[in-house]
Symmetry: C7
Subunit: 101 residues, 7 copies
Amino acid sequence: MTSVFKRLVPTFNRILVKKFEAETKTRTGIILQDPADKTAYGEIVSAGPGNFDSNGKVVPLGVNVGDIVVLPDYGGSKVNLKDGEFFIYRDTDILGVLHKN
Amino acid sequence: MTSVFKRLVPTFNRILVKKFEAETKTRTGIILQDPADKTAYGEIVSAGPGNFDSNGKVVPLGVNVGDIVVLPDYGGSKVNLKDGEFFIYRDTDILGVLHKN
Amino acid sequence: MTSVFKRLVPTFNRILVKKFEAETKTRTGIILQDPADKTAYGEIVSAGPGNFDSNGKVVPLGVNVGDIVVLPDYGGSKVNLKDGEFFIYRDTDILGVLHKN
Amino acid sequence: MTSVFKRLVPTFNRILVKKFEAETKTRTGIILQDPADKTAYGEIVSAGPGNFDSNGKVVPLGVNVGDIVVLPDYGGSKVNLKDGEFFIYRDTDILGVLHKN
Amino acid sequence: MTSVFKRLVPTFNRILVKKFEAETKTRTGIILQDPADKTAYGEIVSAGPGNFDSNGKVVPLGVNVGDIVVLPDYGGSKVNLKDGEFFIYRDTDILGVLHKN
Amino acid sequence: MTSVFKRLVPTFNRILVKKFEAETKTRTGIILQDPADKTAYGEIVSAGPGNFDSNGKVVPLGVNVGDIVVLPDYGGSKVNLKDGEFFIYRDTDILGVLHKN
Amino acid sequence: MTSVFKRLVPTFNRILVKKFEAETKTRTGIILQDPADKTAYGEIVSAGPGNFDSNGKVVPLGVNVGDIVVLPDYGGSKVNLKDGEFFIYRDTDILGVLHKN
């Protein structure tokens, strides 16, 4: 996508994730992953409004923008945006959230 | 479809999308996509009334007419109308909405 | 069906559709479809009462008798009646309704 | 089944149907079907009490005993009774009901 | 099962059925089935308490102990008990109940 | 499992079953099964708290600890414990409960 | 994952499990498993907040952090963390919880 669009807001309970390559750094410059580790990690950069439950009420997402998360082995739709390659997942696909303390 | 019918209103939670070819422009004339990018984008030109939840209430759509959206890799029913080729999706298929700010 | 039965009323959320062949006309005599277009269109001639939701209430149909509609590529049960060949669909199969204004 | 049992009452939302062969007559002696027509028709001779919805309430059937109906191409369990061969369907399988006016 | 256990109570909406062989008799000694007929019949000798609906309430069975029933072509788990070979079905599998008047 | 753990409590609507081999005895010493019979029987030695229904309420199990039960032909996860080999089933898999009177 | 992140919190009804190898010890130093036993055991080290039921309410997990559990033969997503290799399961996958008394 060229310069026109600044943001992509995922729909429903989808989230936009910037995947970490092996040994890449978060935006705060910390080395996250060593090559032997096949587990996929990433940072949530944008999140949808949530899904509707069977009564039409919105169900809040189980993860948040800014979370550093463990990604499933499969799934994820690739999207190319101005800032590079991103992946769209459902929040229910995410395995876990990493915390510093 | 020849001259008789001006509008197609999708049913339930379906939407009518005009796909962007690589390097095509939106109706406001802005170049949207460079060839290397395989992600499919499009503009929503018409939307259905929404689906019914299990209590018979209408569930509002998660996207709107005029949205510039990221399309899934698969799905979409092709429909030929007076103004050319369109695609019908369910709103739940749409991955995300692009915003200018 | 021979002369005895005048009407077929579809069940639940089913509808009875008269398909348009390429270049055929609606009952008001207007040419609808040119040969290159593979999209299937038709007119709803009869509709069922609707389905029951999980609370036993009837859910109204999403289309109406007289609508000119866009049909899915697949599905539809063929039924031969006195007036010729018709197809029975579920209202949820119909992709969209064409409007003159 | 030999002479002992007079009636078969289908269970839940099932119905018992006497199929019309091509060119057979209803019990009122009217010719119903010409050979070229592959659509299957029949008369409902017995009906179950209905299914339970998710709240345990009975959902009334969408068709009635005595209806002349259009049968789906597939399905139906064959049952041999004193009066000959019958078929058991779910009411939701029935495509439509034929009416004289 | 040897002499110790007198009764088998099926669970949930299951029922215990004694199948009739061709030309066998009910316990009241009446011939039920002629060889040409492939339809399977049987008598319900024991029934479970019923299933729970989505609100945790028990849904009553659609058939009763003592009913002479029409069995589906497939399914049924064979169980050997003191009195011989029986079959366990779900009540929803049973096609219909035979009545003498 | 060695001596440390005395008890295994199954989760949700699961139950722990000690299967009877052909001609084995219950703990009260009664011969239960003759070799020709392929039906699998067992005794429930431990049971979970039950499943949640769609409203988050616990649904009571359909069987109890101490029941002598008829097992399905398939399914069951093998677990080796101090007292030997056991099998874990869902209560909904159990076909029936044997009673002495 | 290198030193930065101390904790992984699983999402929804997922749990993080440290698997016991044959003959390994729990953190309290007790030998748990002998080689012949193929059953998989592990300790829950972290748990998610729970899933939402159809009314949007959170359903509490059926197991707890610290439980020594029996794992299913299949499933589980491997995750490499600072303290080594862990597995993420859904709480509903867990077969049972071992108790000392």
